[in-house]
C-alpha cells in the first residue's frame, strides 16, 4: 500500500535496503596497483616511487643516479607533473627512456596513469628489458602518499632548505616510505637545520625507515644511495 495516502498504488512505494560493502575507498586504485606490481614482478623490474615537495631535488637525484649506475643497470623513468614535458626531457638527454605523465591538475599520480605510462615506455624500449623503473611523483608531500602505484620501494626526499620540522608535519609520507633521503646536504652550513632531530622524528614515525644523507651537487652520500638501490634490486629479484 502507498505509505502516503493509502491508495493501494504500488508504484509509489519506496523501499530502502542497506547493502554491506566493507571495501576500501581506494579500491579501484589498489586493484590497478596490484596488477602493476604483478606485471613488474613478471618482467623482473624493481619499481621505485619517489615522492617529495616541489624542488627537493628528485629529478637531479635521478640524473646523478643515472650517471652513477653508468649503464650497469638499465633504467626507465616515468615523470609525473601537473604540466610540461621538462623533466622527461632532462632524463632523455641522459640517454634514458622516459615518459612524461601530466596529470592536468591532479596533485599526485595514480596507478591507472602509471599503467598507461608504463605501456608507452615499453614502446620506447622496443623489446629491451629494464632493471629499475623510477616513478617520479608530482611534487607534493601530502597526496602522493595515499596512492599505491604498484611500486616495490617508496623513497621520500626532504631537502635541507625545507627545514627539519617536515617529518612531523607530513607523517603519512614518512610512515609509508621505506627510504628517506635528506637531500641538498651541501647546504647544511647555511641553514639552521638540525639533522639529528629530523632523523629522530622520522624514526619516531617509522622505526624501520632507512635514512640516507645525500648531496647530488657534491656527490656526498651517493655511494650509500646506489648501494641501497643495488641491494634492493638483489633482494627483490
Amino acid at each position: 500500500m502507498c505509505d502516503v495516502c493509502g491508495c493501494h498504488d504500488n508504484k509509489n512505494i519506496k523501499e530502502h535496503k542497506t547493502i554491506d560493502v566493507n571495501q576500501s575507498l581506494l579500491k579501484s586504485n589498489e586493484e590497478a596497483a596490484h596488477s602493476n606490481r604483478r606485471h613488474f614482478d613478471e618482467e623482473n623490474i624493481l619499481a621505485i616511487n619517489i615522492i617529495s615537495s616541489p624542488g627537493s631535488g628528485k629529478t637531479t637525484l635521478l640524473e646523478k643516479t643515472i650517471d652513477a649506475l653508468n649503464n650497469d643497470i638499465s633504467i626507465g623513468v616515468l615523470e609525473g607533473d601537473i604540466e610540461t614535458d621538462l623533466d622527461a626531457e632532462r632524463i632523455r638527454k641522459k640517454g634514458i627512456p622516459a615518459v612524461q605523465l601530466t596529470t592536468g591538475g591532479a596533485c599526485h599520480l595514480d596507478s591507472v596513469l602509471v599503467h598507461k605510462g608504463f605501456h608507452s615506455l615499453e614502446h620506447q624500449l622496443n623489446g629491451s628489458k629494464l632493471d629499475i623503473l623510477f616513478i617520479e611523483n608530482v611534487g607534493n608531500l601530502v597526496c602522493p602518499s595515499f596512492f599505491d602505484l604498484g611500486e616495490h620501494l617508496r623513497v621520500v626526499l626532504i631537502s635541507v632548505p625545507e627545514g627539519h620540522d617536515k617529518p612531523l608535519k607530513y607523517p603519512k609520507a614518512i610512515r609509508t616510505s621505506q627510504v628517506f633521503v635528506i637531500s641538498k646536504t651541501d647546504l647544511l652550513p647555511y641553514f639552521d637545520f638540525d639533522i639529528e632531530k629530523i632523523k629522530k622524528d622520522a624514526l619516531s614515525l617509522n622505526p624501520s625507515l632507512k635514512i640516507i644523507e645525500v648531496s647530488s651537487k657534491t656527490g656526498e652520500g651517493m655511494n650509500e644511495w646506489i648501494d641501497v638501490l643495488k641491494k634492493q634490486k638483489d633482494i627483490s629479484h
Binding site: K14, E15, H16, K17, T18, I19, D20, V21, N22, Q23, S24, L25, L26, K27, S28, N29, A106, C107, H108, D110, V142, C143, S145, F146, F147, L168, P171, K172, R175, D201, S204, L205, N206, P207
Partner: protein, 116 residues
C-alpha cells in the same frame, strides 16, 4: 586535496553498486575513517557534495562517517591502548616498542543505503 580523487573513486563505486542492485537512488553512504588515515573528513564530504550533483542517482546521497580511534596492542603484555599521537608510541604499561596496530588506518565504505 587527495579527498577529491577519493570522492571521484567513491562515486564510480557507488554507481556500480546502485546499478547492480537496480536502485533508484543512493540515499546514504556509511564510511569508516581511521584517525591515522590522513583523510580530512570535512574535505571528503565537501568534495563528495560538489561532485555528486553531476550524477542524478547520487544527488541526494548523504555521507555518515564513523571516526575510528588509533589503537595498538602490546605484543609483550597483551594490553591494548588508545593514543592521539601519530608518532610510533611505546606501550604505556610496559614500555615495549613491540606493538601491533589494531585500528586507526581505516578508509572504508561500510555500507550503502539504497532506494529500490
Amino acid at each position: 586535496m587527495h579527498e577529491v580523487s577519493i570522492a571521484l573513486g567513491m562515486i564510480e563505486e557507488l554507481k556500480r553498486i546502485a546499478l547492480e542492485n537496480n536502485a533508484q537512488k543512493v540515499t546514504c553512504v556509511k564510511l569508516k575513517i581511521g584517525k591515522m588515515s590522513g583523510i580530512v573528513t570535512d574535505s571528503l564530504i565537501f568534495a563528495f557534495d560538489a561532485v555528486k550533483l553531476e550524477h542524478p542517482i547520487l544527488s541526494s546521497a548523504t555521507i555518515s562517517i564513523e571516526e575510528v580511534p588509533l589503537v595498538y596492542e602490546c605484543t609483550k603484555c597483551r594490553k591494548t591502548f588508545e593514543t592521539d599521537s601519530l608518532a610510533f608510541p611505546s606501550c604505556p604499561f610496559c614500555e615495549s616498542y613491540s606493538l601491533k596496530l589494531i585500528s586507526g588506518e581505516e578508509q572504508n565504505i561500510e555500507n550503502v543505503e539504497l532506494e529500490v
